[in-house]
Amino acid sequence: MTGVPGLAMSSSAAGRAATPAVSFAPRPRRTPLGDAWNRLRRDRGAIVGLSLITVMVLLAFGAPLLAPHDPIEQTLIKRLQPPSAEFLFGTDDLGRDVFSRVLHGGRISLRVGIISVALGTVTGAFLGLLSGYAGRWIDSVISRSMEIVLAFPGTLLAIAIVAARGPGLQNTMLAVGLVSVPVYARLMRAGVLSLREREFVTAARCLGASDQRILFSHILPNGLTPLIVQSTLGIAGAIVEAAALGFLGLGAQPPAAEWGAMLTDARNFLLNAPWAMIFPGLAIMVTVLGFNLFGDGVRDALDPQMKQ
């Protein structure tokens, strides 16, 4: 699951019955990306979102230069110190600088968000294409499998996968990615189904194009729009989900500065050092907010009918 149902997540009925995240209405060919960009530029929310993302990305990339301290360097005699000039966000239970850890945490969270969504999108798109285009038993098998995956609450499934494969960042990405596969597979499948019978596909088929060619040069590019929208929002969900796994002790392993794991540690010192809890959480929220705002904007831009 992506943590944000109905918005970033489309569950069994949402993709089909409730207002779909994006429609597959024919889009005039003359509307290139430029049009969408223009709309995006005029969307205040999207710009705020993009700015937040940019700031977080820059901070993450610049972390090694910007961080005043080594994120894993411990100064045991300076543990649990309140925010000060030396330690902007205070120190944690091992005397590490929370500010530096938050900066470095961005590197992990952004990476996890992007990689797991990429994993989910690619796998989902492939399964969806296969399912929608091949039809028959292949479609049945894939669709049923996706339904089985969707029958589990997402966090539970992700926990199970990580518990099975052992805690760690790689398995977190794998779990968060896999759990989101059905969402993308369904979007892609729906796209393929509506595109399959369209004129330009029929035309290509009449001209003797191979299945492969039709699939990858005609259907895939046209069915991609909803996936792009979904995956932008998906990054937001994936970041929260990965942080949740980190919070449960299943994500990045110590001493890595991961936001969710920092929250677990901080929880033990809530009474003595609330700052160690406040800042990593704020960082998650700001980043996720950025992706949600931007994702909304992308959706509105790519699909003007949805804009309200």
């Binding site: 001493p255 033990n268 010192f269 809530l270």
Partner: protein
């Protein structure tokens, strides 16, 4: 010959600890009220014969009695359901006189038959009552299948134990929390569900167990011993240490264990709270896989010992609730070797030893830490990070890893880990319970190849001469210091925090609890 064994912890030290904790020993007690004790987890089962976890014992200790009990805060023995006992000269026959007029909570009488019934249940796997789980304390901790030949009823209130071989700590083992006498009548009534309807002779009767929430007990008015002061005891499950402390501060519980060290420090400054400390009977240590490189080389293990700033870490993370361990047993146990100096914090020495061992550029390896909090390592991850930082400075680059508790223990036994954290809490205050458990046999995480040490440990186990045992254990401790098969880190003074009005509680080193002593001064 009547012999009361006195092993383990010195009374004077404990008395001092109590005074330091400002526990009034016997003043006018307040009566009545509900005492709520917060702890980290539910009991596993309320059938003490088949459990090994402290949470189960915490409840069972209130509902049941042993034949012989630990006295106060010590591991010295005092009569309980057994009034007195005699030992034959060859150490093979123990005759116990039982207390008369004792009744189980179900109204049936406690007598010699009940004692025999319980021992038969534990020992005989063909007995229809030998159900409910694994009788681990009987088979493994006390090792009684190889010791006890038979248990016979002499008369209604006399039981005779016939032994195959003498066992030094036989009476001490009788006081283990597993060996309580449960009501045969109630157990046979519903064997399947006996584990959740405990019926014993203890100061409290079982009322209910709401899984994940609480166990409720009420005072048993006809208790043979010191009648409970409070009317009701509730043992509340609050899994998170910080949340539990919060509940204590808010007054929704009266006392708690599993206190984060920082919270215990804060509690010391809070006049509405009092901090109590269990006398240490535990050890936190690092274990090495000595079958493989690099830790097969004693110099590398010594390098680890020099590299870790144990005083610094113990100071910062135990905050006065623990002290640096230099040997694998607490210093008040038999066989502690006061000649030994231990390893000091010396990064240069560590680097030098590494270089001598053929690792001038240091080593990199995996370091495994426990996924769960134990009394000896209250916050393993935090410790692991501190160890990793110190090791790194000496050129030992470690990657911290952990896995679920079951898998962790499994891999530690093989061992699949090069270096890992673990610890031990003593059962009965005997050195054998520490050193033989660690090094008595090869396997189960012991990769120390030292036959001499093993022979000495076996000899000490069989001996009943305390002076001889003392010498033998001192020799073994010297060997351990030299070869560092495991690196002792700390002995924890496990803190408990209570509201200031909670009086009469005696923290016991083994972790057993007796809430009938508790009264509320409010």
């Amino acid at each position: 010959m009547k012999r009361r064994q006195s092993l383990g912890l010195g009374t004077a030290a404990l008395l001092a600890a109590q005074l330091a904790n400002r526990i009034p020993v016997a003043f006018a007690r307040g009566e009545g009220g509900t005492f709520v004790f917060g702890t980290a987890g539910d009991p596993v089962k309320l059938d003490p014969a088949v459990v090994t976890d402290g949470q189960s014992f915490k409840t069972c200790d209130q509902v049941y009695d042993t034949l012989i009990a630990f006295d106060g805060s010590t591991t010295e023995l005092k009569p309980a359901l057994a009034r007195s006992w005699d030992v034959s000269a060859d150490g093979l026959t123990y005759t116990m006189k039982l207390r008369q007029g004792v009744r189980f909570h179900d109204g049936t009488a406690f007598d010699a038959m009940a004692v025999k019934w319980n021992f038969d249940r534990w020992s005989d796997d063909k007995n229809p009552n030998h159900v409910g789980g694994d009788f681990e304390y009987y088979t493994d901790v006390a090792g009684w299948p190889d010791v006890i030949k038979s248990v016979d009823v002499v008369d209604d209130y006399t039981v005779k134990f016939s032994l195959k071989i003498p066992q030094g700590p036989f009476l001490l083992n009788m006081a283990l929390p597993s060996f309580v006498i449960i009501s045969p009548a109630s157990f046979e009534l519903d064997r399947e569900n006996a584990f959740k309807n405990p019926v014993g002779t203890g100061p409290f009767k079982f009322v209910e167990w709401v899984p994940g929430d609480k166990v409720v007990l009420e005072k048993f008015a006809n208790y043979w011993g010191e009648e409970a002061s409070v009317d009701q005891v509730i043992i509340r499950t609050i899994p998170d240490n910080a949340a539990r402390f919060l509940a204590l501060k808010a007054g929704s519980i009266d006392m708690m264990d599993g206190v984060n060290t920082d919270d215990a420090v804060a509690a010391r400054k809070d006049r509405s709270l009092s901090v109590l400390v269990r006398p240490p009977l535990n050890i936190a240590y690092l274990n090495f896989n000595q079958n493989e490189k690099p830790f097969n080389d004693v110099r590398v293990r010594q390098a680890v010992a020099y590299a870790i700033n144990r005083p610094g870490i113990v100071e910062a993370l135990y905050k006065g609730f623990g002290k640096v361990a230099t040997q694998m047993i607490p210093d008040n146990l038999l066989g502690y070797n006061s000649e030994l100096k231990g390893y000091s914090y010396n990064v240069e020495q560590a680097k030098k030893l590494l270089a001598e061992a053929g690792y001038p550029n240091g080593i990199s390896t995996e370091f495994w830490y426990m996924p769960v909090s134990r009394p000896y390592f209250p916050n393993p991850k935090q410790f692991a990070e501190a160890f990793a930082a110190d090791l790194g400075k000496a050129g030992i680059k470690v990657e911290l890893k952990s896995k679920d508790w079951g898998a962790y223990l499994a891999d530690a036994r093989v061992p699949k880990f090069p270096i890992w954290m673990l610890g031990w809490t003593g059962d009965n205050g005997d050195t054998d319970n520490f050193l033989f458990t660690f090094f008595g046999s090869v396997g189960s995480g012991n990769t120390w190849k030292n036959d001499d040490a093993r022979k000495l440990l076996a000899k000490a186990q069989a001996s009943v001469d305390m002076t001889e045992r003392d010498t033998l254990y001192q020799q073994v401790n010297a060997m351990i210091e030299k070869e560092v098969p495991r690196l002792p880190i700390a002995h924890t003074n496990v803190p408990l925090v209570a509201r200031a009005y909670v009086k009469g509680y005696l923290p016991h080193p083994t972790g057993s609890e007796h809430f009938n002593m508790v009264w509320l001064d409010k």
